[in-house]
């Protein structure tokens, strides 16, 4: 694919001139085969941050929903994004997913069970990487709807997820502001579904990145609606803002979908009203909204173990 060539070449350059020499110096050359996956993921992750910035920043400047005297609370969200998309998380997700898939599929094969894949179920998909990729994305988006909805149903889970909702200055950087434990649960959930449907290891990080690119846009502080039809095809900033509304925190929320609004429409949790509501969670303690990275994480732990009171 010509579109991917510049990114692949950048990843190859990174691999040849930085990653391999570092692995060699650290006596870690047994990781050389798998490390190229991380290089690819990191390059695509960095590109995704740049694309998100280039698309969302002008939208937020031109048509903001809210203007704030200062944006200190947003700076922590930038840190969340960089950790999540370029650095540690790509490495961990790729390595863990690959290892888990090797173990599971090898075990199934040993027991004369052909590991599941969409292509084996639907052989016409072999050689159709774009169609297969989109189909995997739709299935994963469906699973994300239910993970997200359940995180609002169970009190213990929402104690962690409240960190995501506590942000009153919601911007495109806010998508990754999650409690680490919530991230771990989310990753295990996503990975389990991906293993079940046989997502190719090399597609896994790209699926994560594609879904998150669109999720970033849906968090943007901008008056942007996709119109009657568009709102029913793809989640817009307006649609997702309703989910982050002050009055929609916890179990009362609506619009749980990540990328596609179809699941909210099918399961009757969609709210297509045209309001641009204020965001935040009045039940969250202030440290969750405006604290440092570590203060926010600690606040989540305190709430999880009932060390703070909340509504």
């Amino acid at each position: 694919m010509t579109l991917t060539l510049p990114f692949d070449l950048a990843a190859g350059f990174l691999q040849e001139h930085l990653v391999l020499p570092v692995l060699y110096a650290l006596d870690l050359m047994d990781w050389e085969e798998i490390s190229f996956g991380w290089s690819l993921f990191a390059v695509y992750g960095a590109a995704q941050v740049v694309i998100t910035y280039a698309v969302c920043l002008p939208l937020e400047r031109l048509r903001p929903v809210e203007r704030w005297p200062d944006q200190k609370a947003v700076s922590v969200d930038i840190l969340y994004t960089l950790i999540s998309r370029v650095g540690l998380l790509p490495l961990v997700t790729f390595v863990l997913f690959t290892q888990a898939q090797w173990a599971l599929n090898g075990w199934l094969t040993d027991h004369d069970i052909v590991p599941p894949t969409l292509e084996r179920l639907m052989p016409f998909l072999i050689g159709q990487p774009v169609a297969t990729f989109l189909l995997y994305a739709i299935i994963l988006d469906f699973s994300e709807y239910w993970r997200h909805r359940l995180s609002h149903v169970f009190n213990w889970w929402y104690s962690l997820h409240a960190l995501h909702h506590a942000q009153r200055q919601m911007t495109f950087w806010s998508d990754d502001r999650n409690h680490l434990l919530d991230e771990v649960i989310g990753f295990v959930w996503f990975m389990a579904v991906a293993l079940l449907i046989g997502v190719p290891p090399m597609q896994f990080p790209f699926l994560v990145l594609l879904l998150r690119l669109l999720e970033s846009l849906s968090h943007a502080n901008t008056r942007l609606s996709f119109g009657w039809l568009g709102e029913r095809l793809l989640i817009s900033p307006r649609f997702h803002r309703a989910h982050h509304g002050m009055l929609a925190a916890g179990v009362r929320s609506v619009n749980y979908g990540a990328v596609l609004p179809w699941w909210d429409m099918i399961f009757r949790t969609a709210d297509f009203s045209a309001d641009y509501v204020e965001t935040g969670d009045p039940t969250a303690e202030e440290a969750m909204a405006t604290g440092s990275y570590f203060a926010q994480q600690w606040a989540g732990v305190r709430r999880l173990f009932g060390m703070t009171t909340h509504a």
Partner: protein, 298 residues
């Protein structure tokens, strides 16, 4: 009549590039399922085996046209090798830390060696009784007795060992975590000496006339020739892009897969010039197709 072609295995793109040998242009792209790595011609020349590791699948390809003839479920087929007598196929499962021994032809599993860890490359004693497997994760070489189906010995050979080759009564092992090739006594596993080649020594190949050995160095991105008898280094070629496997073309040039460049490099060993051919992502295994007219008839 169709022109002779070269098969390039795009490991990070789940595809195979078919490159015209004469014009050096990609003529077709064949999709596979997940993550293919290595190819091996069957002893009778009827099939080209391709291991797709993440798909847990071994494909049987036509060695002339590369059309897919058959698929077989195999756990983690990373590296493939037939014993010199052609009776057994060894399949290294790098991710699953296992070496499987199959009966050639029927492809019935005869034995599984669990080996820690990351069994990477394999070669054999000329009498086909012993397989030598590099264990990339633990820095060892394992000698497997293929008659008794036991592990004869494992020995420390260096950090992240990769390519293995039987040469003049010794086993050569490319040490990827270092800059040398270890010369190993096949009876005891003792490293008798080390030949400096370059950082990230990865894979070894013998020239068609048997006089030279080519060692590809992954970190330095070089290919070094050694005298096959004395093991003295002769010449170093710069091959940018992470050289991995290679094949010797009939015109004397050498085709390298370049893992990080989406390219195959074609080296003129006389001038040292390298031309490149665009292929898919992270090309690994490579095979020059048999000429159509000389395809063996069963």
């Amino acid at each position: 009549m169709a022109q002779r072609a070269v098969l390039v295995v795009n490991s990070a793109e789940a595809s195979l590039s078919v490159v015209d040998l004469a014009t050096q242009t990609e003529r077709a792209r064949i999709p596979v399922l997940r993550e293919p790595h290595h190819v091996m011609l069957t002893p009778d020349g009827q099939d080209l085996l391709l291991g797709d590791t993440a798909a847990n699948e071994m494909l049987f390809l036509d060695p002339v046209s590369f059309a897919i003839k058959k698929r077989m479920t195999v756990a983690d087929p990373y590296q493939l090798g037939f014993t010199p007598d052609g009776k057994m196929l060894i399949v290294n499962g790098l991710a699953r830390a296992q070496v499987d021994v199959y009966e050639a032809g029927s492809y019935r599993l005869l034995h599984r060696f669990p080996l820690k860890s990351m069994p990477s490359h394999v070669d054999f004693s000329p009498d086909s009784t012993t397989a030598y497997v590099s264990l990339q994760g633990t820095g060892k070489l394992a000698a497997l007795d293929l008659k008794a189906m036991t592990v004869k010995w494992t020995a420390d050979v260096g950090k992240a060992p990769a390519g293995v080759m039987w040469n003049n009564g010794r086993v050569l092992v490319a040490i990827m975590g270092s800059d040398d090739v270890a010369v190993v006594n096949p009876a005891t596993g003792t490293v008798e000496r080390r030949i400096k080649t370059g950082k990230g020594a990865h894979q070894l190949f013998r020239s068609p006339d048997g006089k030279l050995l080519y060692v590809n160095n992954r970190v330095d991105s070089t290919s070094v020739t050694l005298d096959a008898t004395t093991l003295a280094p002769i010449r170093t070629y710069k091959i940018p892009g992470g050289p991995d496997d290679l094949v010797f073309a009939p015109d004397g040039r050498i085709w390298y897969t370049l893992r990080f460049a989406r390219e195959v490099g074609v080296l003129d060993p006389k001038s040292g010039a390298v031309q490149t051919i665009a292929v898919g992502r992270s090309p690994h295994g490579i095979f020059i197709g048999l000429p159509p007219k000389t395809k063996p008839v069963s």
